[in-house]
């Protein structure tokens, strides 16, 4: 009998806990985002100040996010798709237009990040953080000045080149190198870029996105295509690493705030976005997570080290030669085909 008693007590207990957890009278904000994307203190301050509960669930890539939202929303109020995914979601009618009246702090955003190509007038999204895919290299091994994508092709770095494992990023890089748009739909241009990339293959150590940081820190690779935010991360552990936005131009990307269609707490989500765009909050948040802050008014509250970090704060000159990846529609199949060809040609 004893065992049954214990078991039923356990069941009742657990049920009670889960019911209680569901019964809190506070308003709830359901965030669906990348892992560790916000500073904890900033989040709990918002919970206290506005008497709400925030739930924070994570996804690992944009495609997972799209699948979830497309399949029926999942009940989230705030999501953080990357630039091209915002475009895809708009096309699929999956986002709510933002009510800017609820987000007066929107004016704090730097002009560079307003009205982006993927979402004209920021109707559906506001940039959260951004970066540029440039070149990181180790000054210990590479003495020549690096300022061009062509430098990856230098035979002296054979077997020490790392590339992101990402179709659009890598082909986009080769397209920029030859002076084309990184989002071209012209097959001849794509082919030219991929043919060029094939000549780089013998030098490539690995196509890697997840552990490219580690490989650079541990000096397995000398030179690589990396996101500026990752470069800032790498430098903390290996001060010999330098970062450059090549002269031919590069790809800029961003993660954004957006509200999925049918969100139950849309106004609260907008309140949260507005709160995050407050200069002081913004400074505290980005200082902690170490990503670039698009908020111009926040700069005065940032630390000296943060402001002087050239990988987090790209210069105007550098930002002038970047291009967003835009949705290429059906041409994506061309990219996919050439990408597979490129990577399978390695063996």
């Amino acid at each position: 009998m004893k065992r049954t008693g214990l078991l039923s007590m356990l069941v009742v207990g657990v049920l009670a806990i889960s019911l209680l957890a569901g019964c809190s009278s506070k308003e709830k904000l359901h965030i669906y985002s990348w892992a560790d994307n916000f500073d904890e203190t900033v989040i709990s301050d918002f919970e206290k100040e506005f008497n709400v509960d925030i739930t924070y669930d994570i996804y690992a890539n944009n495609e997972d996010l799209l699948a979830k939202i497309k399949a029926g929303g999942g009940g989230y109020d705030l999501i953080q798709p990357s630039d091209y995914m915002v475009e895809t979601m708009i096309k699929n009618n999956l986002l709510e237009p933002l009510d800017k009246n609820n987000i007066p702090n929107y004016v704090n955003i730097a002009d560079t990040f307003k009205d982006p190509a993927f979402d004209p007038d920021n109707k559906y999204s506001i940039v959260y953080t951004s970066g540029v895919t440039g070149i990181a290299y180790n000054k210990k091994y590479i003495k020549d000045p690096i300022d061009s994508w062509e430098d990856l092709w230098n035979p002296a770095y054979k077997g020490k080149v790392l590339l992101l494992d990402d179709n659009r990023e890598v082909i986009g890089m080769a397209l920029k190198k030859q002076g084309f748009s990184n989002s071209t739909t012209n097959e001849t241009e794509i082919k030219a870029a991929v043919d060029n990339l094939k000549t780089l293959l013998p030098s490539v150590l690995a196509f890697d996105t997840d552990t490219i940081k580690q490989k650079m820190i541990q000096e397995e690779g000398w030179i690589s295509t990396v996101w500026s935010g990752d470069a800032a991360y790498i430098v903390k552990d290996n001060p010999d690493i330098a970062y450059v936005v090549p002269k031919e131009g590069a790809t800029i990307f961003s993660d954004n705030y957006a509200i999925p269609k049918g969100a139950k707490n849309k106004a609260l989500a907008e309140k949260f976005i507005n709160y995050m765009l407050d200069p002081k909050v913004s400074a505290a948040n980005y200082e902690a997570i170490g990503y670039s802050d698009p908020n111009v008014k926040a700069m005065e509250f940032h630390s000296e080290t943060y402001r002087n970090n050239k990988m987090i704060n790209l210069s105007e000159d550098e930002l002038n030669r970047v291009e967003w990846l835009s949705d290429v529609g059906d041409s994506l199949q061309i990219y996919d085909r050439y990408w597979t060809e490129l990577k399978s040609g390695r063996e």
Binding site: Y32, D36, D237
Partner: protein, 268 residues
């Protein structure tokens, strides 16, 4: 007389073991490594376990996983046991096909199960969350409980129950004092397997999870995309240890229940 296998078979098994366990052991070793960067060994530390305990999101994911695992285990064990018991009384003609249906979730690929459940939930407009994850876990772990309890029932025969009823026991008395004690080891090991499956499941949970139902495996997957941190290694180590303990416990209980007879291993 003992029959000896071909020597190559021994080598083959050794290689298999290495292939399966070396990655797991590496994760465990690195969870104690005193450096943020995974490559070299820089001394022993428990820092990663400490910082895990302090992380609010990890603790939330852990709580979610536990709540979901406990509830789905209890329900799946009840349902699985009841279906095994009722299946025993079915005519042989129906047994085959019904058995097949009950075995199905064991065989169906997780991804299809997750996807179909997601479609079902959104068709019925059930909001995704902890409850949908629980329903999903109950659905697949019930079958495992059924398999184990069913095997147990098949092995025990009807003689004891018939004897009890001959001696005047009512239906319930027979069940309570004769049937149940005999199948308890099966039920317990079924429950332990169900618990482990629920705790480890990624694919199905991933599809049907909603707000505040991020489980540990989903959390780990999301973290890995940010770069593999030693905390993740520590978390994986803990998860592996819990799973192994539960599976061993299930084996032990099942074997003890079978008495001295040498027992076949569980089918997975």
């Amino acid at each position: 007389m003992k029959k000896k296998g071909h020597p190559l078979l021994g080598i083959h098994s050794a290689l298999m073991m290495i292939f399966i366990y070396v990655p797991i052991v590496l994760v465990m070793v690195y969870s104690f490594n005193n450096t943020r960067l995974s490559g070299d060994w820089k001394g022993f530390t428990l820092d990663w376990y400490v910082s895990l305990m302090k992380d609010r999101h990890v603790m939330e994911a852990l709580m979610n996983s536990l709540v979901i695992a406990v509830i789905s285990t209890v329900v799946a064990t009840l349902l699985g046991t009841i279906s095994a018991l009722s299946m025993r009384d079915f005519a042989r003609k129906w047994k085959g096909p019904l058995n097949g249906v009950l075995y199905m979730p064991v065989i169906i690929p997780d991804i299809i199960m997750g996807l179909s459940l997601l479609v079902l939930f959104s068709q019925l407009q059930i909001p995704l969350g902890k409850s949908t994850v629980m329903i999903a876990h109950i659905t697949f772990s019930m079958s495992y409980v059924y398999v184990v309890v069913n095997a147990r029932l098949a092995g025990m025969g009807r003689q004891l129950e018939e004897a009890a009823q001959d001696l005047g026991a009512t239906y319930w008395q027979t069940f309570r004092y004769v049937t149940l004690p005999q199948i308890t080891p099966g039920i317990i090991s079924g429950a332990l397997i169900a618990f482990t499956l629920s705790l480890d499941d990624f694919m199905v949970s991933f599809f049907v999870a909603g707000p505040s139902s991020t489980t540990l495996p989903i959390y780990i997957y999301g973290q890995v995309k940010r770069g593999i941190s030693p905390e993740i290694n520590a978390l994986c180590t803990l998860l592996i240890l819990v799973s192994i303990t539960l599976i061993l416990l299930a084996q032990y209980v099942l074997n003890r229940g079978k008495g001295q007879k040498k027992h076949k291993m569980l089918p997975f």
